[in-house]
Amino acid sequence: MSYCVHCGVELAPSEESCPLCKTPVLDPNQPWSEPEERPYPERLEVVPTKIDHRYGAKLASLFLLIPMAAVLFSDLILDQHMTWSAYVLGACGCAFCWVILPFWLNVERPYLYIALNTLSSALYLALVAWMSGGFAWFPALALPLTMLAGCSAMISVYVCRRSRMPALDKVSIVFLIAAAVLAGLESLIDLWIDGEVRLVWSLYALLPLAALSAVFRIIERRPKLKENILKRLFL
């Protein structure tokens, strides 16, 4: 018989390491060997998922190819070269990145998805700008706005995924990010139209959001007040 040097428990012959602390069994007098019978067999029961998301994503991608092919052929037959179909193809590409790709990859990678979505949106807007002939608005307005939306989404996800941060602090920071996005949005539009920044309409949303953010931070730091609110709002 072997004992775990950390936990002090006796280990059953089936245990190659302590199940409580993962310390391996190192008994020079009695090296571990596979026992004749383990308490549980090796075979695991596999439960097939009723909805195979990956298969569904592949199927959806195939379906998406149908309108893409249809518009491309129509455009090529009618105009002899690609014109309006580029818009549809670009939109389908965006839809693939936004909706289908997360199911296809089947892995939880929010930052990668946000980066891909930002990139696909920026590329689509660049395509629209290039196709419409006036490319100037893309680097001055569309690209910064897309980057602003992508960055704010990334920061929000980062904040929400921090397990150690209290929930209300997370809400407070997300509200501040939303306020900053609105201010950034108006600034970029102002810069594009007038060449100078004059915050007007965004203030109507920015101020309440900032105030709410402060309220949430205060509530998080006052347990009695929080408890009272929870008690009264309890369902």
Binding site: M1, E10, E15, P19, C21, E42, L44, S163
Partner: protein, 431 residues
Amino acid sequence: MAKKTVGGAVPAWLKLDNAAKIYPPARSHGWAPMFRLSVTLAEPVDPEALARAHRTVLRRFPTFGYRLRRGLFWYYLERMNGQPELQQDVGNPLVRMDLRENGRFMYRIRYHGRRIAVEFFHALTDGTGGLSFLLTLAAEYLHVKKGLHIPCTDRILNCREAPRGEEIEDSFLKHARGQGKSRFEKPAYTISGTPERRYFLNITTGIMPAKAVIEKAKSLGVSVSAFLTSVLIGCFQEMQQKDPVRRKRRMPVKVSLPINLRRFYGSTTLRNFSSYLNVGIDSAYGRYTFEEILNLVKHTLGLEISEKGLNARMSANVNSEKNFAVRAMPLFVKSPFMKAMFMLQGDRYCSTTFSNLGEVVLPEEMRPHVTRMDFLLGVPYRNPVVAACVSYGGNMYISFSRVIREPYIERAFFTTLIKMGIPVRVESNQR
């Protein structure tokens, strides 16, 4: 309307008992409330003999041969023929049972080496009913395999007798007196950790001499359940103090203790007839010493485990079931509502569950052929770690089921027992 009966005493259909009503709507694709009981024999299991014994036992336990069906207002049980096929055991027991794949039966029998295990969907029965089924199956198996004649006890039923009417009754409806008691409590602390891979339940069993545990509990002036519950609460308190979230550090730590109601009412039903009691400490008031926890648990159990208190608790559930508005609501409306209630409230008021089936005493003829017993609980909706205990043959088997990777609680629990002078041997399903 009188229910049509099969074979005289066995109705063609049954209403779900009061405790079982919540389980069918609450289950999901990945989760169902389940538990598992097993016996380890002295010799390897013969599947053919087991199948024969199973056929005989199922006739004696007719409620186990019902299937779950949807009615207009409630789920109900419908009698069916046949029996579920025996299965080879797996390394990840208590995976959510697909009733359709299991021939619509709500239990499954698995064997591995010398062990016979039965996994039950909780809508079918509780621990006591399940234990009776397993022991009767083991006794009948020994009869088929070795020609042994095992005398009947309160837990081993005579398979040559016809099922009795009181074994299929809904004892909740029979014994509830109507005056309910509020079920509201303060939400309890819940341990968190890294989620285990899907459909894998970590099982760690601690085997210890029952005598050592009983003597320790006696020396402290409490029952075995109170002693083990106090140790468990102490372990959760240790974890809670390290929790980075301040709000969680101030939540109560409570252990849910299932209570067999049969002993209060002399019921012999084989369906659900158990209640529960959440016992614990309120960490908002500070850190408790082990003696304080022990004292609190001992007196809470003494105060709360009375026929009157338990009746009021079950009456509250029965009153909800009898409420006209609830009854008149169609199932397709009621079902999501009940599921939502279960998700919000279910095990919100406890940090874990500790189910103690007590000591299993087998007839002398059976003892040399049964070497061990195990009891496993499936994890509830919210709490990732639960524990179950059963004693047999001078040993106590405490099994922890866990769906997080970190074995914080088991480690703290077993090392505490070792520090108290109780030797513990552990085994697990992890590789």
